[in-house]
């Protein structure tokens, strides 16, 4: 004989709780599987992206070592604008120090921090600068990114290429033209390039002063 029983509160609660737990377990398992399946591809894309950014600042003929393993972790460094640890990639050619690739931050952008990657050769010359992350106004301050720069032949950020403290010794020259320096800027958006120029100058100075030490230091353990 079938009896229909009025469900008790505890019965209802445990039933729904069990169903919810089953759903959670099933979907967590599904996500774990997808995560495991996509992880190799995600890691590969991240490494490839990192190398692509590095290759934009660092010409391929300047190194023959594996950059992603020959790294150094710097403590928070005021000269690079870093309040946190940052990574230095050390490019070597036939075992000889060739170029330092540094991560620097311009803290005083128009909309917060501007993160950059700089390659500075052993002779102190800038091999390249790229902005890796910024929140500058789209269409106004974002010309610091070559992709967004309307000048495709000589993007703004390439003005630094080939410069060194030896070639441009006066600190006053490391400023935008509006402030009496040698760097161009687009009218109406001076705060952004001003921050970038200042940060690049500080990073170049840091790399020039600490070149020997950075190349000689033990590589970071990963």
């Amino acid at each position: 004989m079938v009896t229909t029983k009025e469900p008790t509160a505890t019965g209802m609660a445990s039933r729904t709780a069990i169903i919810l737990v089953l759903f959670v377990a099933a979907f967590t398992a599904a996500l774990a599987i997808v995560y495991t399946l996509t992880k190799p591809a995600i890691d590969a894309s991240a490494a490839e992206e990192k190398m692509r950014t590095i290759n934009e600042v660092l010409p391929g003929n300047l190194y023959d070592n594996d950059l992603l393993t020959d790294t150094l972790t710097l403590p928070p460094t005021a000269e690079l604008g870093q309040d946190d640890e940052s990574t230095v990639y050390r490019a070597r050619l036939k075992g000889e120090p060739s170029t330092l690739v540094l991560e620097a931050v311009a803290p005083d952008g128009y909309a917060g921090k501007i993160r950059m990657l700089l390659a500075i050769r052993a002779n102190g010359e800038v091999a390249g600068v790229r902005v890796t992350l910024h929140k500058e106004t789209p269409g106004l301050g974002d010309y610091i990114e070559p992709k967004k720069d309307k000048n495709k032949t000589h993007p703004w950020i390439t003005q630094f290429d080939g410069l060194s403290l030896e070639k441009v010794p006066t600190p006053g020259d490391w400023k935008v033209r509006k402030d009496g320096g040698r760097f161009d800027s687009v009218a109406g958006a001076t705060v952004t390039p001003r921050a970038v120029v200042k940060a690049v100058y500080k990073a170049v100075k840091f790399a020039t002063d600490n070149r020997e030490r950075l190349f000689a230091a033990q590589r970071a353990k990963e």
Binding site: I19, F23, V34, Y35, T38, A41, I42, P138, G139, L140
Partner: protein, 230 residues
């Protein structure tokens, strides 16, 4: 449980026009404001949302008879969040460049009220096929609206159209519509510009519908009365 042609038509019309998520339901304003600075961004984020809605609607409709009424909302969110995470991981793995642009807004799709709204209002009561179609069509409605909004803002703000297309289809480039020395119009790019543009689009949609209703109400076209308004 298949779906009739009349239902397909009804669901599509609702998603794309009548119940358009941005113009009628006014849902998902946060991504709308932040992402529609260009046509490409607007379309790509809407496309990701379309995938989320189509799949989560479909799964919820499949499971709808297993979900106790009392805990339906947590389960709905669980399903939608799982779909968002799968799409997030998938895009990160196989469409890395696009993932970098849309960035934070992909995980945030889960907070779009539209996703949960369609699950609760439609998927929980309908067949899987119909629910999947409803999610897709809501997404199509979002694609054209956010695409148009992004296009208008990009054109007014920067004088270009299809900026950033090279990140989606390599080898193409943006169209420079206005002269290259166009100074740009900042308000259009910033969030207030999105509100102003959206307001104009809503007004335009209401105008189109009011005109259609007026025509339907007056079967023999009366040229003199057409210009009047009440």
């Amino acid at each position: 449980m298949l779906i009739t042609l009349a239902e397909i038509k009804q669901i599509s019309l609702n998603g794309v026009w009548k119940q358009n998520s941005s113009l009628v339901q006014i849902l998902g304003m946060c991504p709308l404001l932040a992402i529609t600075t260009t046509l490409v961004n607007g379309v790509m984020l809407s496309f990701a949302t379309l995938l989320v809605m189509a799949f989560s609607n479909f799964f919820v409709a499949c499971l709808r008879n297993l979900i106790p009424y009392e805990i339906r909302i947590p389960v709905f969110i669980l399903v939608a969040a799982a779909v968002v995470t799968v799409i997030d991981l998938g895009m990160n793995a196989y469409m890395h460049d696009l993932y970098n642009i849309l960035g934070i807004f992909i995980p945030l799709i889960i907070t779009n009220c539209l996703v949960l709204g369609r699950i609760e209002a439609f998927a929980a009561k309908n067949s899987p096929l119909g629910a999947g179609l409803d999610g897709t069509m809501m997404g199509v409605g979002m694609i054209w609206t956010l695409g148009l909004l992004g296009g208008i803002r990009e054109f007014i703000g920067a004088g270009t159209v299809l900026g950033g297309i090279e990140l989606v289809i390599p080898g193409t480039s943006a169209l420079q519509i206005l002269p290259a020395d166009y100074p740009g119009f900042l308000v259009a790019i910033l969030p207030p510009g999105a509100f102003i543009c959206l307001g104009c689009l809503v007004a335009w949609k209401n105008w189109v519908e009011a005109r259609a209703a007026q025509r339907a109400a007056l079967p023999p076209p009366a040229p003199l009365a057409a210009g009047g308004c009440h």
